[in-house]
């Protein structure tokens, strides 16, 4: 059976940041924080840098190669037509299409990677810890290790309350 998480509800992100610092100094692992907006202090303290931009670079590289190859194949190999005496391989004129397709495919690729990583999709049910966490409340989630003692749990709860948590509870 999964051990219940310790949940602390805060009114203010400044209190959350202070609580994170204290808990981190005591080597207590914070599983997640749900926040109504991107508080950069919380993200800096808890968040790992996202690797989505690397995925975007790969999508961009793919777009450049794929678009160039496609135009080359259609205009030079498959059905070459002379437009106004210009050579079939008119690379400078292709730059605009390659440029636009790179933007479009990188864009689409980035969105797909984001959705795959976050597992977000249309109609997905939100697993909220607190009904106001998307409006004005901050939810701190601390996962318990299997060997955690009751005293340690009480200590963590006290720490959260001391830092201004308006509600501390156990939850799955």
């Amino acid at each position: 059976m999964k051990t219940p998480n310790i949940i602390g509800i805060f009114d203010n992100d400044d209190q959350v940041v202070e609580a994170i610092h204290t808990l981190k100094s005591k080597n207590i692992k914070i599983a997640d924080v749900h926040a109504p907006f991107a508080s950069h202090h919380i993200l800096k303290d808890l968040g790992k840098e996202s690797r989505i931009p690397y995925g975007s670079v790969l999508a961009g590289a793919f777009a450049i190669v794929a678009t160039f190859s496609f135009i080359y194949w259609t205009s030079v190999i498959n059905y070459p037509i002379v437009f106004g005496g210009k050579p079939n391989f008119s690379f400078p004129a292709w730059v605009v299409v390659i440029y636009l397709m790179t933007i479009l495919l990188t864009f689409i690729g980035t969105v797909i990677i984001f959705q795959m990583r976050t597992k977000m999709n249309f109609g997905k049910k939100a697993e909220l810890m607190h009904i106001d966490s998307t409006e004005d409340k901050f939810v701190m989630i601390i996962e318990q290790d299997a060997d955690i003692t009751e005293k340690e749990v009480q200590n963590i709860k006290k720490m959260l309350s001391d830092h201004g948590a308006i509600e501390v509870r156990m939850d799955n």
Binding site: D13, V17, D32, V33, H34, A35, P36, F37, A38, S39, H40, H41, I42, L43, G47, K48, E49, S50, I52, P53, I71, T74, S75, N78, Y79, I81, F83, K86, S90, A93, W94, V96, V97, Y99, L100, M101, I103, L104, F107, T110, V111, F114, Q115, T118, K119, M120, N121, F122, G123, K124, K125, A126, E127, L128, M129, D132, S133, T134, E135, D136
Partner: protein
């Protein structure tokens, strides 16, 4: 509260997070206002006029338009370029906000993006209808076909334009939509109506605002904003290339891409100014969209106006300096002193002269003057497109082909119809989606995050 040395105070009063949601999202949960129904009725009538005009165009043909042998691009391309220009502001605000973290852009971003999506959709309608046989529009796509396969001409600016507009529309819709997700989740969680809860829930994609999601979300939005920056420059430049790559006097000029781009930003910002002043009044958002916010737009307009003015003078100078008689005729005779001189000087007054009034603080901070001048700019920018398209095509190289252009009721109907699309869309947006990004407002109202 945000205080900056240059721009002043941005938020009128300290607000709690709940107050921000209550005040900004009020239209989504309160009773629909009477003015909204009045506006919707007017917009629907405009839309119906447009639908009739589109019906005539499709069933009878392009003969219902004012086009003739010399003026192959008429009212439709004027309006296409004008709408595309209007659309640019939304993307510009997104770039200011996401890439440069310009706090003043946060209150405009959402509405401006909605404006972009609608304006680009309106713009796209014109070249599509101009094809004549709109049901064959898929011919423009490079797909394996039974005609050879005859692939599209990748060297043609007309194809670049199709790709640019499609890319731009895709990007604008996505940026607008993903920018709304955290706010849709807020609306989902505070809605009491089952239908609203289900709809906001469906579109908020299960968003809970966890740190992992925020980190990924911010990273994605930065990439998307970064991609939008080169695109916003290239879209109107490519529209300009439709003209510049031709040999028509008045079009065949290298200044056109930057001139079109700055014109687009200029007209778009003017439209944002007009709309946000109306929205702020109707929804009592004066505490969020403050005078310093609006003043920031007027500063951009002064800059845009100076560049546009410089472009007008440069065009005239280059026409004279080139020594080419056709260019000289087009710019110095036909446009500045000839048949189109009244339209030309309206354009110069509206775009290069009138916005200079914003140098005065009293004008820059007066709501009435801001509305008047922003509307003047949009009229001026329409005239600019009219001058470029019509004056050049009616008087080309061969005097025997010289003609004039008069729009028909069908031409006017389609233009009015696009206003119908625009206003219907805007009214629906204002009714069901918060016009200001609530999560950004909350983040920027925190002192600790500055």
């Amino acid at each position: 509260m945000i205080n900056t040395l240059v721009r002043g105070t941005f938020t009128a009063r300290e607000k709690s997070f709940r107050q921000v949601t209550d005040e900004i999202a009020r239209p989504t949960y309160s009773k629909t206002a009477k003015w909204w129904f009045a506006g919707m009725t007017l917009a629907t009538l405009m839309l119906l006029f447009g639908l009739w005009a589109i019906y005539k165009t499709i069933t009878v043909g392009l003969g219902t338009w004012g086009l003739n042998n010399s003026v192959g691009w008429g009212w439709d391309i004027v309006n296409f370029v004008w709408w595309i220009g209007i659309g640019h502001a939304g993307t510009a605000f997104t770039i200011f906000l996401i890439v440069f973290r310009a706090r003043w852009a946060a209150v405009f971003n959402r509405t401006a993006e909605a404006m972009t999506v609608l304006a680009v959709s309106c713009a796209g309608l014109f070249p599509a209808l101009h094809l004549g046989r709109i049901w064959l529009i898929f011919f423009i796509l490079p797909y394996p076909n039974t005609r050879g396969p005859l692939w599209v001409n990748f060297n043609s600016p007309l194809f670049w334009d199709v790709l640019a507009i499609t890319t731009y529309l895709t990007l604008s819709i996505t940026l607008w939509y993903f920018g709304m997700i955290p706010d849709l989740a807020t609306l989902r969680d505070r809605s009491t109506s089952k239908i609203k809860k289900a709809l906001y829930g469906f579109f908020s994609m299960g968003w809970v605002g966890s740190v992992k999601n925020w980190v990924r979300y911010e990273a994605m939005m930065k990439v998307l904003g970064g991609l939008a920056a080169p695109l916003v420059i290239s879209v109107h430049s490519i529209v300009a290339l439709d003209f510049a790559i031709s040999v028509i006097p008045g079009w065949h000029t290298t200044i056109l891409p930057p001139y079109f781009f700055i014109g687009a930003i200029f007209s778009g910002f003017a439209m944002v100014l007009t709309l946000t002043i109306i929205i702020r009044k109707l929804y009592n958002l004066q505490d969020y969209i403050t005078i310093p916010h609006l003043e920031s737009i007027t500063r951009v307009l002064i800059f845009g106006s100076l560049v546009i003015g410089l472009a007008y003078v440069t065009e005239l100078f280059v026409a004279w300096y080139s020594g080419w008689e056709f260019e000289m005729f087009t710019f110095l005779k036909n446009r500045a002193t000839g048949e189109y001189s009244s339209a030309f000087w309206i354009m110069v007054f509206c775009n290069a002269i009138a916005p200079q009034a914003f140098w005065f603080k009293r004008v820059r901070t007066s709501i009435t003057w801001m509305v008047i001048i922003s509307i003047i700019i949009n009229i001026g920018m329409w005239y600019e497109r009219f001058i470029i398209v019509i004056s050049s095509l009616t008087h080309t190289f061969l005097p025997a082909t010289w003609t004039s252009f008069t729009p028909t009721v069908v031409d006017i109907g389609i233009y009015v119809g696009t206003f119908g699309i625009f206003f219907t869309g805007m009214l629906l947006f204002l009714r069901y989606i918060p016009s200001i990004a609530m999560n950004e407002t909350k983040a920027f109202s925190k002192k600790s995050d500055h």
